[in-house]
Amino acid sequence: MSTEALVVNGLVKNFDGIRALVDFSCSLQQGEILGLIGPNGAGKTTLFNVVSGFIPPEGGKVTLKGKDVTGNAPYRIANRGLSRTFQNLRLIRQISVLDNVLLSFREQSGERLWNLFFRWRRSRDQEAANREEAMALLEETGLASKAGDPAEDLSYGQQKLLSLVCCLAAKSNVLLLDEPVAGIAPEMIDKMLGIIRELPSKGKSVMLIEHNLDAVMQVCDRVVFMDAGAKVSEGTPEEVRNDPKVIEAYLD
């Protein structure tokens, strides 16, 4: 068994002549926190979209826990144990905080019509168990008091926290976090980073995009710097920060 949670190999993607990904390869080890940094338009979010199945690549391969998932539908990839958050925050704003978390549990018995009418008891019991687990997760992250509120009533930082909680509820072991701490209050950043730092001990591997370099330096085991769709530098946070190619790219 390989210890690689996620491997992308030679990914290629163009948008109307703009090269978003140019033969991009990298891998995420089991239990690792990998930071993905680079200037705007470097293709970081495109990489997330390709890996999570929202954009089919023109070339290359995505391997999730040893299985080739290239070009699979997003829901299939999600059910193989990958969760992601979005830069522009996606939640179901009109339903409650708790319902957002409940929605994120995978393979629920009550999501099958047949069970709803012919195995109702089982669906109900599972729902009750999920509810308890969801409340525990909200308790841990300090969102429990907001459980009944519509998600849109949360502050921006709390919404980012909630989308992370949704990833946890999914019990995925590969998490792609797109700017988890961008634009939120400093104390919220600490809280968020605290949760992210604990993820490897829960058997999860994390790849995160972040412009806040301090945050990246704090939590990441390894950093990949990308520019114009290609990998420019890779190594420990220190190595990457001191790489002349990185300094040059940022100065450009």
Partner: protein, 295 residues
């Protein structure tokens, strides 16, 4: 007395129609313009089977639901996998085609002359002939429709439907097979609409294609919007209001030739007024989209 029962029976039929459309449009956010077509499929299946095969009511209702669901899948599977806009157009096309077939296949459907003389139903030897008996029958099917809908919308399945309505991308990220949910819910809604058609055919005992036009689809959509999309009791309120409203016109003493036209104006005006001032309808939790919530 029979007049009052007649109104109540009509309300019951529209409760079934609008509740099933609410499942598709109100909870899942898919605008279907084919609801009258499925209503018509139910009515014609029941009428043809009763007239030509003399098969019993319950057999006919099962066949109608099955065929309607099958047609729902045939319309939904290709169109729902692409984009919601195609779905609206596909349902519109299905509506128009269904009407044309009912209207033009004279040897089979009777064409514009319709199918007269549909026999009264009997269930387990119980003759349904009086208005009161029909009201009980409609009431049972209304209750059944509402119960099934409630079971669906208050479950994890229903939670996924609402998620699809609000943000498909998020639903996919949460591992939900969005296309499959949409098709399934459309098939269920189509099946329920055909039940209303079966009851209508037996009750009126004469059907013709004019009961199943695009206008009828829009009328059902109006009930859902005015009553309140995405709430269980919204369509019930909507059905009561929109079915009784023209009857009130009759009491005002308006000649029926004018009343028919005023009715259309009234529905149109109401719909516009609700869209402008109360897009959530009487009871709804879901405002029909201004487009802002979607990308």
């Amino acid at each position: 007395m029979d007049y009052l029962l007649h109104i109540l029976i009509l309300i019951g039929i529209y409760v079934i129609l609008s509740t099933s459309l609410n499942l598709i449009a109100g909870y899942t956010g898919l605008l279907s313009i084919a609801h009258a077509a499925f209503y018509g499929v139910g009515a014609y299946v029941a009428a043809l089977m009763a007239l030509k095969l003399h098969s019993p009511f319950l057999v006919n209702i099962i066949c109608a639901v099955f065929l309607s669901g099958l047609l729902g899948a045939a319309v939904g599977i290709p169109s729902l996998r692409i984009h919601d806009d195609y779905f609206v157009i596909a349902t519109f096309a299905f509506q128009v085609i269904t009407f044309s077939i009912l209207n033009n296949w004279v040897s089979f459907t009777g064409g514009p002359m319709g199918l007269p003389g549909i026999p009264q139903p009997s269930i387990f030897g119980l003759e349904i002939s009086s208005h009161l008996a029909f009201l009980v029958l409609v009431g049972i099917f209304c209750a059944l429709t509402l119960w099934i809908t409630q079971r669906i919308v208050q479950s994890p399945f229903g939670r996924v439907l609402k998620a699809i309505r609000e943000d498909e991308v998020f639903a996919q990220t949460a591992g939900k097979n969005v296309a499959a949910y949409k098709v399934l819910v459309f098939v269920i809604g189509a099946g329920m609409a055909s039940v209303a058609g079966v009851i209508y055919a037996y009750y009126i005992s004469f059907i013709d294609p004019t009961s199943f036009t695009v206008m009828e689809s829009i009328f059902i959509i109006s009930i859902v919007i005015i009553g309140g999309a995405g709430s269980l009791w919204g369509p019930v309120v909507g059905a009561v209001v929109l079915v009784t409203l023209p009857e009130i016109l009759r009491f005002v003493g308006m000649p029926s030739a004018i009343a028919a036209n005023v009715r259309q104006i009234l529905y149109g005006g109401l719909l516009v007024a609700f869209m402008m001032w109360r897009p959530r309808g009487f009871l709804g939790e879901y405002a029909f989209h201004s487009g802002e919530a979607r990308e």
